[in-house]
């Protein structure tokens, strides 16, 4: 582990042809460079996501080009677009079907908060009401560069995750849930309207 090995000693050893590493470093290096996103799009953000995967922006440079059509093979869910209340249970179910470790990028204003449709009756006011989100990208829609930036942030996050100890990654902690309750279609709204265990509405802060 880099925090246990002296960096100077390590680079000195490297110069002599000895490469020192740790299981955690190798494991995270492998994981962060082959993030397979789940292949689905919800609205115009999905077009930007497609552009990011295509040759001009080339997500393959970061190891994320393998869009999987099955949640069982995916590591990353890019919620790209407006989540309607009718679609929300399916999104949560897809998330539940993904194997651990799994990550979520909330792409665009709609996926973050409902965006321009926030005051409407049929749009979910942010996917973080039901599933935990790792990286939020603002924008309407965000440019491919922004998605690449979010991808790199996610790689940084994965790189920093610990395999052991108190602050180990949540997917290695048996206490942490990896599935979340799927909301039901109610008579007037989704039931429940949010998952209180993971979602706290933003509070007003004024003097």
């Amino acid at each position: 582990m880099s925090d246990q090995i002296d960096e100077g000693l390590r680079s000195e050893l490297q110069k002599r042809g000895v490469w020192v590493t740790s299981t955690q470093e190798l494991y995270n290096w492998g994981r962060k460079n082959s993030i397979w996103p789940l292949q689905f799009g919800l609205a115009c953000c999905a077009i930007e996501m497609i552009a990011t995967a295509a040759s001009r922006y080339d997500l393959a440079r970061f190891g994320g080009e393998v869009f999987r059509p099955s949640p069982r093979q995916a590591d990353l869910m890019i919620v790209a677009g407006t989540v309607t209340k009718k679609m929300a249970p399916q999104i949560v179910r897809l998330y539940n079907q993904m194997p651990d470790p799994k990550y979520v990028i909330s792409m665009g204003a709609c996926a973050i908060s409902g965006g321009p449709f926030k005051q409407g009756y049929n749009v979910l006011k942010g996917i973080d009401r039901y599933i935990p989100v790792d990286v939020y990208i603002p924008g309407c829609p965000p440019r491919p560069e922004a998605l690449l930036h979010a991808f790199m942030e996610l790689q940084r996050k994965i790189d920093g995750q610990k395999l052991t100890g108190q602050d180990k990654a949540s997917h290695l902690d048996r206490e942490q849930p990896s599935e979340f309750p799927v909301p039901a279609f109610g008579a007037h709204d989704l039931e429940p309207p949010s998952n209180p265990n993971i979602f706290r509405p933003p509070a007003i802060e004024r003097a």
Binding site: N122, A187, D189, I204, E205
Partner: protein, 222 residues
Amino acid sequence: MQSLDEIKARAEAAVPGAKIEIVPNPGPANQPSLLLDHEHAGAVALFLRDDPALKLDHCSNVTGVDWLDRKVSKKVKVKKVVDGAEKEVEESQEEFFPGYLEAVYHLFSMTLKHGPVVIRMRTADRAQGAQLPSLTPVWRSAEFQEREIFDLYGIKFDGHPDLRRILMWDEFEDFPMRKDYREPDDYEYEPTPHDEVLEKAKQHYTPRPQLDGAENLTAAQQ
């Protein structure tokens, strides 16, 4: 294309018993429409579609309108006996129009390249089971749009082949496009609420009357 009066006269001649009314539109669009009665709507629609001079074979748009109960006050001059002498006195009278739901169809002719002819139908009231005859058997393109009206306004279309909700889920009970619809109260903090959102915000935060506008709200005491 023929004038609307002409179309009305010919349709009434072709469909015995049909009562058609011309609804004027005083707005800048000046697009008057034909109001059909429920009983003969299907037959009149068939006439509009198949008549060789009209051939309105393309139903481009179907939409719903919600009209609430409304009162219109008018000033009317009334002759009254005041102090033994007959005088003209202005009196305000209130006229009550009961509410109804409406379906509006915009018709064009692909064959003869003319249009639009606007037809509409009105329900008796705004009650839960308000009914209208379906025109889907005449114009197949009306199917999804009538389903949408059923979903959002709650008009039941008689004779529709597959009348289910199309946008909202089946368990949903409200009709969101009706003017008296109130969405569930799931207001969430916004930094600069205004208009309707400000009204909602006021219900969730205690007001600070010494300030104007959005900043006169403060967090509710927990």
